[in-house]
């Protein structure tokens, strides 16, 4: 059998096999075993089979497959030309196999570049004889043709253009050729290939037809099928279509009227598409074209802004207004003036009755249009501000003045933001109004009644904007603004309604960005006056310090703020100021280094800060100045400045402090009050900086402190955290057991004696260190099992404190160079869940609470995604947790944690709870009862509120037939909650009751 016969047999059954056959033919041609002429001849009976169209099409397919499999340079130029003629000749007489013909031609073109003549013949053949393409029913056939045309347009720009230039009739046929295509894959290519004639050819005569041929598809409403293998989205199509619409200025007479017509559509999606298309057109078309439509566009777009239907439509419309302005910004004045005239007129009209929605919209419009560039902004200023200020000065109404100033602020904001885009813009236009504005706003801020909050806030905001517009104000004027705002921050004392200190502080911080020198010269000294060296205990200026610390968020004044705080702290210390004041100063410093903007080198805080700020603090501590309340803050400052530093720097610090630290942590004579500092200090150090020989004695000391000394709970807590930290960071996992034994921290030994609260906590602290480290899994598991085994016998405080195993600790972090295993939460969960749930099922009622508390303690810190797979076994224990008597140790922490999980479950997997609806609803209702109603119950108000939140989710998340039976009961029980003693609970009760009242309403409507 010949290859063609085999191919015809296989092609419908087994595509791959057919390809093989074609490839074999190709190899024969390549090795000269067969000649091209033989191949063609062998096709003859099938390719010309008058009675069987199918066979003709398939034979062309064979030819295409053979040619695709052929490497270049096998066929001579003459052979290729012959083939080309053969295929195009066929098309003239027979359209069967049009797709295969196109594929064959693509393959031929791939073998060697064509000349102009061939390109034109091929294109003409298709356009003249296969027109319109939609007559071919198979998408794949049309796809091949479209690909061929796309290829030729991409590679033979001149040949294609000549085709159009030489024949006026070509373009109409070319447009008609693609008409009616509906397949998204084909359309993606057609939209793309049509951009070549649209942007590169002179198509003025055919603009309307060409435009209509693509605009017919507007707006795209395509929805990809659920398992679409081609991955074409509606957005892809929209993007390409939009590029077509915006491709040529000659489209404008057709594009704008039709787009604006569709802007009246009731479909928000259509409007979105229209607005984006308008933006693209404004960018794509020439300025002189846009000039013809600028006013029409404004008239249509303004409605989207003045009467906002959807916020994003307003935003897109504003963007379009900016783009139009930008189009004219650099050209002659005429078009820009013509565009701005109606805008100025309209906005001025809306100013008349400010403040309204429209006057607010006018502010947005002015901002957006001004953002087109400084020349545009200047014209707006000249057109708007005279009216604005004359209205302002002629009005007595504070509300009206506020409305006007809000608009003014938008204009200022545009200048400030333009400066970011084009630094060094000329702000002369604003300068002429700046003094008047400054007077008005300063007067408003200082003299307006304090209850006029919005008026004063608008003025404050305006002053901040004025300062941020470069050169708008003179230096003296800037000082006036800074003084006025500083005055509010420091001296205004309004309680409740009227208090604008917080926004004033924010404004001051913003101003520090544009005029740091004024803040340094005016504000900082004023702040210093309010911070005496040694205030009395009652007069610690906490609010002033808070405000001052916030200035540190601006990098340019950071150092000033930090130095002043440090000096003030030193002065306070020398004059023995109250410890609250010194602590507040240290906290301010810590705030500055944590949330402020200290200078950085290579991304880390400069090491010189440690030398300048932390070192002297540490020296004081070394010299015995150790007060509990400041020591911890000092530790944290040291930690913040030291932990990012490199090994070299840290080593120097470490060796400098080693002697006195060792002495202070002497085993027999340890200073437990130092522990909070030691904790933060060691947290900062990199493991390689220390020596194991230094750590072991330290651990021994802390172990004995933990077990044998009665100390203040806070200090004892630091001891335990320090033990966890040291074990995690510095203990070598390979020699962990000997280390634990040498330091008396072996958990099995600890728990082998009667368990005291101190031992239980120590055991948890040690286990946590190992768990986080994740390097000694066997030992960790043994410890966990032992702890679980002790739950019923040594309950207090073991069950309640189980939660600390997973509780995050802000010192045990990678930033502090701790070893944190990525999977420790999963590990703990996997090891403890089965024994705990088993125990809960079988334990006697007295012991059960301990297991429930331990379980909820662990669940409290687990992300929902980890516990989700095990939810089915968790629901029952979680619901039982809600039944814990209030007196049970740890019930207060366990219940909120249970509610949190129920809430997540209701949100993410409500079906898990459906079978438990009855017990869920009744338990949640029980959690909402307050002591006022029933004195035996003690549900804290936060728990009541949380329970109501969960209960409110039920009607929304659970199937209505499941919750409907409880509607009446819940609605009635909630009446009591509406009268709860706490406002927060009442608010939740209203929400919850609304959700249950609304239950079933949707269905009634359908009846």
């Amino acid at each position: 059998m010949s290859d063609i016969q085999l191919y015809l047999l296989e092609v419908d059954k087994d595509k791959a096999e057919a390809q093989q056959v074609a490839a074999r033919s190709a190899r024969r041609l390549e090795s000269k075993e067969a000649k091209l002429i033989d191949l063609i001849t062998s096709l003859e009976p099938y390719i010309n089979d008058k009675g069987d169209a199918n066979s003709r099409a398939k034979s062309v397919g064979f030819l295409a497959d053979v040619l695709s499999a052929l490497p270049p340079k096998i066929l001579s130029g003459q052979e290729r030309r012959l083939l080309c003629d053969f295929i195009t000749g066929r098309i003239e007489g027979d359209l069967e196999g049009i797709g295969a013909s196109a594929r064959a031609l693509i393959a031929l073109e791939g073998l060697a570049r064509w000349d102009t003549q061939s390109v034109q013949t091929v294109v003409r053949t298709f356009v003249d004889h296969a027109n319109p393409l939609r007559q071919f029913k198979l998408q794949t056939e049309r796809y091949a043709v479209v690909q061929l045309i796309d290829l030729l347009l991409a590679k033979y720009r001149d040949a294609m253009r000549k085709l159009h230039e030489d024949d006026a009739e070509f373009m109409p046929s070319f447009i008609a050729f693609f008409e009616g295509e509906k397949d998204p894959r084909n359309l993606m290519i057609i939209f793309s290939l049509l951009q070549v004639p649209m942007t590169e050819w002179d198509i003025r005569a055919h603009a309307q037809d060409l435009f209509d041929s693509v605009f017919n598809y507007f707006p795209i409403t395509f929805k990809p099928p659920p398992d679409d293998p081609y991955g074409i989205t509606a957005q892809d199509l929209k993007d390409r279509l939009r590029a077509c619409i915006a491709a040529n200025s000659d489209f404008a007479p057709y594009a704008f009227p039709q787009l604006l017509d569709k802007l009246d559509s009731t479909s928000m999606n259509t409007k979105r598409d229209v607005l984006q298309a308008i933006q693209a057109c404004v960018v794509g078309y020439e300025a002189k074209t846009i000039n013809l439509y600028s006013v029409t566009l404004w008239d249509a777009l303004k409605f989207e802004i003045l009467n906002v239907q959807e916020e994003d439509l307003a935003v897109e419309s504003l963007k379009a207004l900016t783009l139009i302005g930008a189009k004219f910004a650099d050209s002659a004045e005429g078009p820009l003036n013509a565009y701005l005239r109606p805008i100025i007129k309209e906005c001025n009209e809306h100013l008349e009755d400010a403040p309204t929605k429209q006057s607010e919209a006018a502010g947005r419009i002015l901002y957006s249009v001004a953002m087109a560039g400084q020349t545009v902004a200047d014209k707006l200023v000249k057109g708007i501000l005279p009216t604005l200020f004359s209205l302002h000065s002629s009005s007595e109404s504070l509300t009206k003045r506020r409305g006007l100033l809000e608009v003014f602020n938008q204009v200022l904001k545009a200048y400030a933001d333009l400066e970011d885009v084009q630094p060094g813009i000329d702000t002369e236009a604003v300068q002429s109004f700046a003094s008047e504005a400054l007077d008005a706003m300063e007067r408003a801020l200082i003299h307006a009644p304090k209850a006029e909050v919005s008026f004063r806030l608008t003025s404050l905001n305006g002053l901040s904007c004025l300062v941020s517009v470069r050169k708008a104000l003179s230096d003296a004027q800037v000082d006036r603004v800074v003084d006025a705002v500083t005055e509010i921050v420091l001296h205004e004392r309004v309680e409740g309604h009227g208090d604008i200190r917080t926004p004033a502080i924010k404004a001051l911080t913003e101003m520090a960005h544009s005029v740091p020198h004024a803040i340094r010269d005016r504000s900082v000294p004023a702040f210093m006056v309010e911070m005496p060296d040694c205030p009395s205990e009652k007069d610690v200026p906490g609010m002033v310090l808070e405000a001052f610390a916030q200035l540190s968020t601006e990098g340019q004044v950071f150092d000033t703020v930090a130095v002043r705080l440090k000096n003030k702290y030193n002065a306070a210390r020398h004059q023995s100021a109250p410890v609250e004041y010194r602590r507040a100063l240290l906290l301010a410093l810590l705030y500055a280094f944590t949330f402020g903007a200290p200078a950085r080198e290579d991304g880390i805080v400069r090491s010189s800060y440690y030398t300048e700020y932390a070192e002297s603090l540490v020296t004081d501590v070394a010299n015995g100045h150790r007060e509990g309340s400041t020591l911890e803050v000092i530790g944290r400052i040291v930690n913040t400045l030291l932990n990012p530093q490199g090994v070299h720097f840290q080593t120097t610090v470490y060796s400098k402090n080693l002697d006195w630290m060792t002495a202070a942590n002497n085993k027999d004579n340890a200073d437990v009050s130092l522990t909070p500092f030691t904790l933060h200090y060691y947290a900062a150090l990199r493991p390689e900086v220390t020596d194991a020989a230094d750590i072991v004695p330290l651990l021994q000391t802390q172990a004995s402190l933990a077990l044998h000394r009665e100390s203040h709970p806070a200090a004892a807590g630091s001891v335990l955290r320090l033990i966890t930290l040291l074990l995690n960071k510095f203990a070598n996992p390979k020699t962990l057991e000997p280390t634990l034994k040498a330091t008396n921290l072996e958990v099995l030994t600890l728990l082998s004696q009667p368990v005291s609260p101190a031992t239980a906590n120590l055991a948890l602290a040690i286990t946590k260190a190992l768990l986080l480290q994740g390097k000694t899994p066997t030992l960790t598991t043994t410890y966990l099992e032992t702890l679980l085994a002790h739950l019923p016998t040594a309950p207090n405080p073991l069950a309640r404190n189980f939660t600390t195993l997973l509780a995050p600790d802000n010192l045990l972090t990678k930033q502090n160079h701790c070893l944190i295993s990525g999977l420790y939460k999963q590990k703990l969960f996997a090891h403890t869940l089965p024994p705990l749930t088993d125990a809960i099922r079988t334990a006697d009622p007295e012991q059960k609470p301990y297991y429930l508390v331990a379980l909820s303690g662990i669940l409290r810190w687990l992300p929902y995604s980890i516990l989700e797979p095990r939810l089915s076994s968790l629901i029952a224990p979680i619901l039982q947790t809600l039944d814990l008597p209030a007196a049970a140790d740890g019930a207060h922490e366990a219940k909120p944690s249970a509610l949190t999980i129920l809430e997540s479950t209701l949100m993410h997997a409500p079906e898990m709870l459906e079978e438990h609806t009855a017990s869920l609803v009744s338990r949640l209702l029980n959690c909402t009862t307050s002591t006022a109603t029933d004195t035996t119950i003690n549900n804290p108000w936060t728990l009541r509120a949380k329970a109501l939140q969960c209960l409110a989710l039920c009607p929304r998340q659970l199937k209505s037939e499941k919750v409907m039976p409880f509607r009446r009961q819940v609605v009635r029980r909630l009446l009591v909650c509406l009268d709860d003693g706490r406002r927060g609970v009442r608010a939740e009760a209203v929400r919850c009751r609304g959700a249950w009242l609304g239950l079933g309403e949707g269905e009634e409507e359908e009846d």
């Binding site: 309604h497 301010a588 335990l720 955290r721 309640r800 706490r982 609304g994």
Partner: protein
């Protein structure tokens, strides 16, 4: 273009001028910014102290200070209701005002029933939707307040041409109940209340 609305461009009150509880709370109580620096997680240290003291975020001080339902709370309940023709809240349109809400204690020592009176100010005196707004306010309060309150919603004197008729309707239990049987009316009211969260 907005001819179908009675008052197409009403005056809007700036949100920062609306009365709110947050701003009227004394500033001392609010946590300082430095508190954010303190660790937020439980450590073994918290748990070492007695369980009652550590666990309690409100229970001990919980019931002793009862926060009574006051005018501000009523205002907060109704100020977020949407106007039926503007996408704006009744509070920001000045339709409901804090000063126009009054809570009157029980009239006799034996009665438990207090009365809440809310006066409504329509945006224009000819506002045709006044009744619907009144109905929305009434429904909201009846659903959200405990039953020991009687809710009295009226139109503020001199602000509406139809005040007498509307007041009669809103005061009549039967007519309110009948109105809430009307599907399309219920839908309007529900849409108005949908923004109360």
């Amino acid at each position: 273009m907005e001819a179908d609305k009675d008052n197409a461009n009403p005056t809007i009150i700036n949100p920062s001028d609306l009365p709110s509880r947050r701003r009227s709370a004394p500033t001392q109580k609010r946590p300082g910014i430095f508190d954010a620096l303190a660790p937020a997680y439980p450590t073994l240290a918290d748990q070492l102290s007695s369980p009652e003291a550590s666990s309690d975020s409100g229970s001990s001080s919980d019931e002793e200070e009862r926060e009574e339902i006051d005018e501000q709370e009523v205002f907060d309940l109704i100020s977020t209701i949407s106007d039926p023709e503007h996408p704006l809240s009744l509070g920001s349109l000045g339709v409901v005002k804090l000063a126009d809400i009054a809570i009157m204690p029980p009239t006799s020592p034996r009665s438990r029933i207090s009365t809440i009176r809310v006066l409504i100010t329509p945006t224009t005196s000819a506002c045709s939707l006044t009744t619907v707004i009144g109905l929305g306010v009434k429904v909201r309060l009846v659903n959200a307040l405990p039953p020991r309150f009687r809710v009295d919603v009226r139109i503020k004197e001199g602000t509406s041409n139809t005040a007498g008729e509307v007041n009669k309707q809103l005061g009549d239990k039967e007519r309110v109940a009948a109105a809430m049987e009307n599907r399309s009316l219920v839908n309007v009211v529900n849409t108005m209340l949908a923004t109360c969260v």
